[in-house]
């Protein structure tokens, strides 16, 4: 069925068009929206686009970085200042998907996708959202928990603090098909160290629940400790606490529970 395409110059107009029409869907890179249209998804009758250049801007001038929702993974890979985000960006799809798919779209991508969002969750990102009534910033965890209700809102950008050292942020995606493939498990860890002890550990998991979640028990096991074998073993032992994975073609829920601790141990030990 033909759909109406509405293109706006400003994000404000695009946001009001989205919030006033339940059957409207925002088009980022289109890698998921176009797939739905190609498959004849009749729940979409309007496609909204915004050409505002601010959506594809990357701001790396301060210790805080801001990435427009329309920034593609290829653009992140081309930005040296964002080296800490290269592993998550590179882990997504093949080259064409990375040229098209956006950071904003990834926030809404269902399992087994949403890998970049796992990294953003571990980095405690902030999501800037524009609704019909104005713009606001919310913590990514809160954004993800209310994701279903965000469908009428436009994401403008995500921002996060740059990790203090290259070692403080780690990412690992387990996939069966390499170099591209859907996630069996995706893990990201932000481990800031102060006086030799971890302070403010954040560990995020993808494909371990309906959406990206934090491994809170593992975070607690690391908090205030040095990243030694004992701490790593303690975190790995509780990695599966609070997870609720499902079975899919890439792996069973049982398998995911079995291996999450193994991969968390490898991530924390810096093993390949």
């Amino acid at each position: 069925m033909p759909v109406t395409v509405k293109t706006f110059g400003s994000t404000g107009e695009a946001a009001s068009a989205l919030s006033s029409d339940r059957s409207a869907r925002y088009l980022g890179g289109g890698t998921l929206v176009m797939r739905a249209l190609n498959e004849g998804d009749i729940s979409i009758s309007t496609v909204v686009r915004a050409t505002d250049q601010a959506l594809s801007r990357i701001d790396v001038t301060s210790s805080r970085i801001t990435i427009g929702a329309g920034v593609t993974f290829a653009k992140i890979l081309a930005e040296r200042e964002l080296a800490f985000l290269h592993a998550p960006a590179r882990s997504i799809g093949g080259p064409a998907v990375r040229n098209m798919g956006t950071v904003g779209g990834n926030l809404f991508a269902p399992n087994p996708y949403g890998d970049f969002t796992v990294a953003l969750l571990a980095l405690d990102a902030t999501v800037s959202v524009q609704g019909g009534l104005g713009a606001r910033d919310l913590p990514i965890e809160e954004f993800l928990q209310s994701r279903e209700r965000q469908s009428g809102a436009l994401v403008l950008a995500v921002s996060c603090q740059r990790p203090a050292t290259a070692d403080a942020f780690r990412y690992r995606k387990i996939a069966r098909i390499k170099p591209k493939g859907g996630s069996v498990i995706t893990l990201a860890a932000h481990l800031p160290v102060s006086s030799g002890r971890i302070s403010g550990a954040r560990i995020a998991l993808g494909s371990m629940a309906a959406m990206q979640i934090r491994a809170r028990a593992a975070e607690r096991a690391l908090e205030g400790r040095a990243l030694d074998d004992a701490a790593i073993n303690a975190a790995a032992a509780v990695a599966a606490e609070g997870v609720s994975p499902t079975d899919n073609a890439l792996g069973s829920a049982w398998y995911r529970r079995e291996i999450v601790g193994v991969h968390l141990r490898r991530l924390l030990s810096g093993l390949e």
Binding site: T4, M34, E39, I44, G94, P95, V97, N99
Partner: protein, 159 residues
């Protein structure tokens, strides 16, 4: 339903076409202007048979909203050869037996061109990475990888 006018550059020539709202670029290319070189494989982004270059970047035409191609430059396999002369990649594909049924070949050639335009002498790993979004049911990939490397090491890749 009204049709939407669309204008873009297609292999160096300006073209205009009317499309239904929400159709993808692959449909606009094949049904709108009769360029049958990009193939329809899956319509889901999974196979790469529909790959084209948009402003020099590799994109999946089946997942590109036709209207977002407005005013941009699209290159397809149809524009790869130079008059009667095959592109070095096309010659290498023939010489290395890199096509069997040939269904994946247009997409593979565009993915390979995107790579060589950016990196004229890729490593084998870089070639594997570059074609990782393209599925081939027939060749087992090795002849394709060899063909891309042959075209590259011949130093004949052109812009």
């Amino acid at each position: 339903m009204t049709k939407t006018p669309l204008q873009f550059r297609h292999n160096g020539r300006d073209v205009a076409v009317f499309v239904d709202g929400g159709v993808n670029l692959l449909v606009a290319l094949r049904e709108g202007i009769g360029d049958m070189t990009p193939k329809f494989g899956c319509g889901q982004g999974g196979c790469g048979a529909c790959s084209v270059l948009i402003d020099g970047e590799l994109h999946l035409s089946c997942l590109t909203l036709a209207e977002s191609a407005n005013g941009r430059s699209i290159q397809t396999l149809d524009g790869l050869k130079d008059g009667p002369n095959l592109h070095p990649l096309q010659r290498a594909f023939m010489e290395q037996f890199a096509a069997q049924c040939g269904y994946c070949t247009p997409g593979m050639l565009m993915a390979a061109k995107a790579l060589l335009d950016r990196n004229p002498s890729p490593t084998r790993a870089e070639v594997v990475e570059a074609i990782s979004g393209n599925i081939c049911r027939c060749t087992g990939y090795e002849p394709i990888i060899n063909a891309v490397l042959a075209a590259a090491s011949g130093g004949r890749a052109r812009a």
